[in-house]
């Protein structure tokens, strides 16, 4: 295997992992702090991508459209939390799953009514449309590099927010012991709404950044939501650090598995078995990873609750 192919696949894994992180970060905060399973998280991702497609067409600017989409999705998230989800915090997980699953169906139909059933047009900005040549002569899509950059910057900002600010302290307090945080006088309602809006904005960022390389269509959130759940189970619920490590693990294992397993099997299996077994095992690899992590660390790698 040439070194450039190995490097390219590693970058691919990194890029995929960082995108998953944007989704998983919001999900893990909601799950960890509010003890709430929110299946509708993927719907916010979809709504973010649709806002992005509309606003960038309206304003004619990719980044301007993105700013508007983030704000709009955060508002939708806050409204959703205040009107509906707030009533579910005290309920058991089954009720939350049922109710938020209903929100998925409603969101899909609302999006269809507002934007129509056809997938939306959303392309990369012109200056990021083609590949760039990296040092060493390797070609790589410039837009994917932009995704890596945005993902890394957001991860850093989130880390600073959670680890170094007063809001972050409240968030950590809420995640590790909610009752105690309330007893100490934290306005948990406002905190929850803020966290939820932040999670929605991160979803919108993921939707907006992924939109140009993925189909912007009804139901786009469900596919990726499963991966985001795998990430937070691996990383440990409520932990931003866990979400970060989990995302990168899932991204790299998934991409690496698809890229290298068929080659690996090809070494000692006849070609027809290798070409069948490689993709089959690669597609379950992240679930194997999850099972192994759960076996040794049932709370995930970095649980928020000691």
């Amino acid at each position: 295997m040439p070194a450039s192919l190995f490097l390219e696949q590693t970058l691919n894994g990194l890029q995929f992992g960082l995108m998953l992180f944007l989704l998983a970060a919001g999900l893990t905060l909601v799950f960890g702090i509010m003890d709430m399973i929110n299946l509708a998280h993927g719907s916010l991702y979809m709504i973010g991508a649709y806002f992005m497609a509309s606003f960038s067409q309206m304003t004619g600017s990719f980044w301007g459209g993105m700013a508007l989409a983030l704000v709009a999705t955060a508002i939708v998230g806050a409204l959703l939390e205040m009107s509906l989800l707030r009533r579910l915090y005290g309920r058991d997980h089954l009720t939350q799953v049922l109710a938020t699953f209903a929100i998925i169906l409603i969101a899909n139909e609302v999006v269809r009514i507002v934007w129509g059933s056809q997938p939306m047009l959303l392309n990369t900005p012109a200056d990021l449309a083609g590949p760039v040549t990296l040092p060493g002569g390797m070609q790589y899509a410039s837009y994917r590099l932009a995704i890596i950059a945005v993902g890394a910057v957001v991860a850093l900002l989130l880390y600073l927010l959670v680890a170094k600010t007063r809001v972050g302290m409240l968030v950590r307090a809420g995640a590790s012991n909610r009752e105690m945080a309330i007893a100490m006088g934290v306005n948990i309602r406002r905190l929850f709404t803020a966290v939820f809006a932040l999670g929605a904005a991160l979803c919108a960022l993921a939707g907006a950044m992924l939109g140009p390389i993925l189909a912007v269509q009804v139901g786009m959130g469900e596919n990726i939501l499963i991966l985001a759940f795998v990430v937070i189970v691996i990383g440990g619920t409520g932990s931003i650090r866990g979400a970060f490590v989990g995302s990168l693990l899932v991204g790299i294992v998934d991409t690496g598995g698809r890229a290298f397993l068929p080659l690996f099997f090809g070494v000692f299996l006849p070609p027809q078995f290798a070409s069948a077994a490689g993709p089959a095992i690669a597609s379950v690899l992240i679930y194997l990873l999850m099972a192994v992590v759960l076996y040794f660390r049932p709370q995930g790698l970095f649980p928020a609750r000691g």
């Binding site: 390219e8 997938p119 047009l121 189909a215």
Partner: protein, 390 residues
């Protein structure tokens, strides 16, 4: 006493069924919601346009449409088919988009002896060994677009081809169809899992393998993802991407935009086919829906035209199996379809031409699938050989 009553009832029913129907009830079972719902809606729009142009009467009979949404779930499809056939007692069925739903609902329809006119899915198991007089396709046999693509790659003299399709039965069938016609070297056959989002792995392999052509059978959202990412990676300059026509028509063009330009696809129809039926279809469709039709809309429209012609030819006797089957088999020759006039093979599949289309901008700046060549002439279903019907 009861026995006598039942006898009278049966007699009355028999007498009723021999008469010409006074109205037509069509069950339209399709995928109308969810991520793939846009395809069913496109077919329905085409069908409704033909119905509207015919003044709400197909074959001169007042027509009632009963729509049902299978949500791409075979079990739901089967239940809805039961309901349409048993409770609503429809005279005709149509509408199914996906082959897996088709295979699930087909036994129910076949046993009810109700004619089914396929506006899309025409799976090989129903056209080959399992062929039936109640099945009639107004679209194309499942492998035909792929065979045309293989023939095109062959005619272009591409020495190496890279094939990619989702890991499910239709994906394997698609590549089988391609390989039937393409005799060059196949550098790799890749089967990513269904609904894969990110193709960076495959694109990296593509860049390393340097084939002359890539054939991608990735329907719906998967195709959108792949084409966008293929472009972002700068690969169009290095190799030719070929796709089946149903994965690159107007519904996909509207979502992908400029990255579509320069692709080749293969189809049984093109918006610029030069015949009377097509000019009328494209103009009326644009007037009604303010967008260019896709081939799915054409299939829905043609389905309605063929039903219209067949009901008219059979003088409304939809229940008279022999007469209606004969009328259906000859209808595509006289119904002025957007594909012109075509014949049907004994297994109820069209014998028709397949075209190569290039994605280009027209004079108004719209991206269109312009016909460049006829790649297969009067092509018929490969599986006809396994069907015993005459």
């Amino acid at each position: 006493m009861q026995g006598k009553l039942a006898g009278v009832a049966i007699g009355a029913l028999l007498a009723f069924s021999a008469q010409a129907a006074s109205e037509l009830k069509i069950g339209f079972l399709s995928t109308l919601s969810g991520p793939a719902g846009s395809i069913g809606i496109e077919i329905r729009d085409g069908f409704n346009l033909a119905l509207k142009l015919a003044g709400g009467k197909l074959g001169g009979l007042p027509t009632e449409m009963i729509f049902a949404d299978d949500t791409l779930n075979p079990d739901t499809g089967r239940q809805l088919a039961e309901r349409l056939l048993k409770r609503d007692r429809v005279n005709l069925m149509t509408g199914v988009v996906f082959s897996n739903v088709m295979l699930a609902v087909w036994p129910t329809i076949n046993e009810s002896k109700v004619f089914y006119v396929a506006p899309n899915a025409t799976p090989t198991t129903i056209t080959g060994k399992g062929c039936s007089p109640y099945f009639f396709s107004a679209s194309w046999p499942n492998e035909a677009h792929h065979e045309a693509a293989g023939a095109f790659a062959q005619s272009k003299g591409y020495k190496n081809a890279y094939l990619i399709a989702p890991n499910y039965p239709a994906g394997k069938d698609a590549l089988t169809g391609f390989k039937r016609m393409y005799k060059g070297n196949i550098v790799a056959e890749v089967y990513p899992k269904l609904n894969q989002l990110d193709y960076s792995t495959e694109l990296a392999q593509l860049r390393a393998a340097k084939p002359d052509a890539v054939y991608a059978f990735l329907p719906g959202g998967m195709g959108i993802n792949f084409i966008k990412q293929f472009n972002a990676a700068g690969l169009p300059k290095e190799m030719q991407l070929i796709v089946p026509g149903f994965a690159s028509d107007q519904d996909i063009v509207r979502a992908v935009g400029d990255p579509m330009l320069g692709l080749f696809d293969t189809s049984h129809w093109a918006y610029d086919l030069d015949n009377e039926g097509n000019r009328k279809f494209v103009a009326e469709f644009e007037k009604e829906y303010k967008r260019l039709p896709s081939l799915f809309a054409e299939q829905g429209y043609t389905t309605a035209l063929i039903i219209d012609q067949a009901v008219r030819d059979a003088k409304g006797k939809v229940e008279d199996e022999k007469a209606f089957r004969a009328a259906l088999m000859s209808a595509p020759e006289r119904a002025k379809t957007p594909r012109g006039s075509f014949k049907e093979a004994a297994n109820g599949t069209p014998i028709q031409d397949y075209y190569v289309r290039e994605l280009v901008k027209d004079k108004d700046g719209r991206i269109v699938n312009r016909k460049v060549d006829t790649i297969l002439k009067q092509h018929q279903d490969f599986w006809l050989k396994d069907c015993g019907m005459k």
